[in-house]
């Protein structure tokens, strides 16, 4: 299986703090990769580095063999890597439809006019917000805002979807729906990188997992493998022998 995305020696320093330390991993196409680890381990920062939110301090990232290390966020988005944010970010004064159209117009495929409207409506259907494009952001419930943000991401028809704790804060029913939705993304042929804390989701969704602690990779493998790895358990629960 070809590696779609490759990280080699990726490092990010904020002043004296090393948030991500020489991360190496590959993301295989058409798979869901879980990026997990305790709080502060550098997972979101890694996603930020992949999406171009800020520059790397060292290392390289490549997409299908082409380096994307020094590209800016908009160029990375144009190459088909799209992301959601840890705290949902919708465009506050715009309608739901306009929010999703933003992804359709400027993403990977650059639609316009009626085409963009059609794509946006289709994505709203897909996330369960069909026919509600006229609503304003202020009228949405929490899970609806997440749905709209995902629709915006999908409207750009990305190859790689980065989800930053997208399942956080959902009740069991919503969680079920959310897992189902993410699985359908993989089944359509997209590649998903999932930063998550919800263990059930990780077990049922991820094909592979990379575990981070204090900025470094401490384990890699299938969910079953990593979740029974003593090093991983220690990282999450802390050292009992203190």
């Amino acid at each position: 299986m070809t590696a779609l995305l490759s990280l080699r020696g990726v490092t990010k320093r904020f002043g004296g703090l090393v948030a991500v330390n020489r991360m190496d991993f590959d993301v295989t196409e058409h798979q869901v990769l879980g990026l997990i680890g305790p709080n502060g381990s550098g997972k979101s920062t890694t996603l930020n580095l992949i999406s171009g939110a800020f520059p790397l301090s060292a290392g390289s990232i490549s997409l299908r063999g082409q380096p994307i290390t020094h590209l800016q966020a908009q160029d990375i988005a144009r190459r088909g890597i799209a992301r959601t944010f840890q705290l949902v970010r919708l465009l506050p004064s715009m309608t739901v439809m306009e929010n999703v159209k933003a992804g359709a117009v400027f993403g990977h495929r650059r639609h316009w006019g009626h085409e963009a409207d059609a794509v946006a409506e289709a994505m709203l259907e897909k996330v369960g917000m069909g026919g509600r494009g006229h609503m304003t952001v202020g009228q949405l419930t929490y899970i609806d805002t997440k749905r709209v943000e995902l629709a915006r991401v999908l409207a750009g028809e990305p190859r790689v979807v980065l989800l930053d704790e997208w399942l956080a804060g959902l009740n069991p029913t919503e969680l079920e729906e959310g897992i189902h939705l993410i699985r359908s993304l993989r089944d359509e042929g997209r590649t998903v990188i999932l930063v998550e804390h919800v263990m059930d989701a990780i077990r049922s969704l991820c094909d592979r997992c990379v575990v981070m602690a204090a900025g470094t990779k401490i384990a890699e493998g299938t969910p079953t493998e990593v979740l029974s790895d003593p090093a991983v358990i220690r990282a999450y629960l802390g050292d009992d022998d203190a």
């Binding site: 988005a77 919708l90 465009l91 506050p92 715009m94 316009w112």
Partner: protein, 313 residues
């Protein structure tokens, strides 16, 4: 592009009629009314083009005076060597290039740096020109032309029509959409695939060019041109206030701000000439606290209230 609805055609017709009526002003009224007309037309052009950029992006530009002054000097210097009709495009190009340079330097950064940079720009250009004039020995420039106040008025009307047309087109374009998104959340814009720096710079060239052309048109009115006259920072502040007072949410917003403010300013200048600065300050405060979306905002709020009450009828 999507086809025009019947409502669009209706608006276009209304605008055309309004412009034709406005164009008749020099033929019917006296000299004083024409002077006010020119002032209103000038500020409308400046404020509307200002709002095209600063409205959606929320970047407050105080560079209007700098572009205006440069345009005025293009006419002042050029009128002796070139035919008049070439001066306006030249001024436009110079203004656009200046704006692009300013944009390249500052639009990658946050809005605060942009405001301060543009604040200093007019002062900087004025000092530089004064210095050049001091060492080269020249003082001011005489701008002697056959152009009358009426000509200036009609040119400004034409420019206003062009600015409105351009604003309308941009509003329906990809660039317009991109800029609205940038104004809402620039990070989301970038991660959605928008090259935010380029979009901002491109759009900023519009008020730059338009302000320069306006300055070039107005230069004959001054007759004697010197730096302090051409580059008054006051102009930048007035344009900002008028645009914000009217509201940047609609194309006609700035016009609605220009008209009352012009009369207010004339009134205060006549009765309390030293208190114009105080007036400016009070207006800024009124805008921030009472009219954050300008008169346009009030109209929108009223419409929304009417719609809501109709829903219960």
């Amino acid at each position: 592009m999507t086809a025009l609805s019947s409502r669009d055609w209706g608006s276009l017709a209304l605008c055309a009629i309004a412009l034709i009526i406005a164009a008749c002003l020099p033929l019917s009224s006296g000299a004083y009314n024409l002077t006010i007309g020119v002032t209103i037309a000038m500020y409308t052009v400046l404020a509307t083009s200002w709002a095209l950029f600063s409205g959606p992006t929320h970047y407050i530009s105080l560079a209007t005076a700098a572009f205006f002054g440069v345009g005025a000097y293009v006419t002042g210097i050029g009128i002796q060597h070139l035919p008049y009709w070439t001066l306006l495009p030249i001024a436009g190009v110079i203004g656009a290039v200046m704006a692009a340079l300013v944009g390249l330097a500052t639009l990658r950064l946050s809005g605060v740096y942009f405001v301060i940079f543009t604040l200093g720009l007019a002062e900087f250009v004025r000092q530089a020109i004064t210095w050049i004039q001091n060492i080269s020995g020249t003082k001011g420039i005489y701008v002697l032309t056959q152009i009358t106040e009426a000509h200036i008025y009609w040119q400004l009307l034409g420019l206003a029509a062009l600015v409105w047309l351009l604003g309308w087109l941009i509003g329906r374009s990809r660039l317009g959409f991109a800029l609205r998104i940038i104004g809402e959340d620039e990070q989301v814009a970038r991660h959605s695939g928008i090259n935010t720096a380029r979009a901002k710079i491109l759009l900023f060239m519009v008020p730059g060019a338009v302000a320069a052309i306006t300055g070039a048109i107005l230069a004959p009115r001054y007759v004697y041109l010197e730096p302090a006259l051409a580059f008054t920072p006051m102009l930048s502040f007035q344009v900002v206030i008028m645009a914000l007072l009217g509201g940047t949410g609609r194309l006609w917003g700035p016009l609605v701000g220009v008209i009352p403010f012009t009369f207010l300013w004339e009134g205060i200048s006549a009765s309390f000439p030293n208190q114009t600065t105080l007036l400016l300050g009070v207006c800024f405060l009124v805008i921030v606290y009472l009219l954050p979306k300008g008169f346009v905002g009030l109209v929108d709020a009223a419409r929304r209230r009417m719609r809501n009450s109709e829903g219960f009828a």
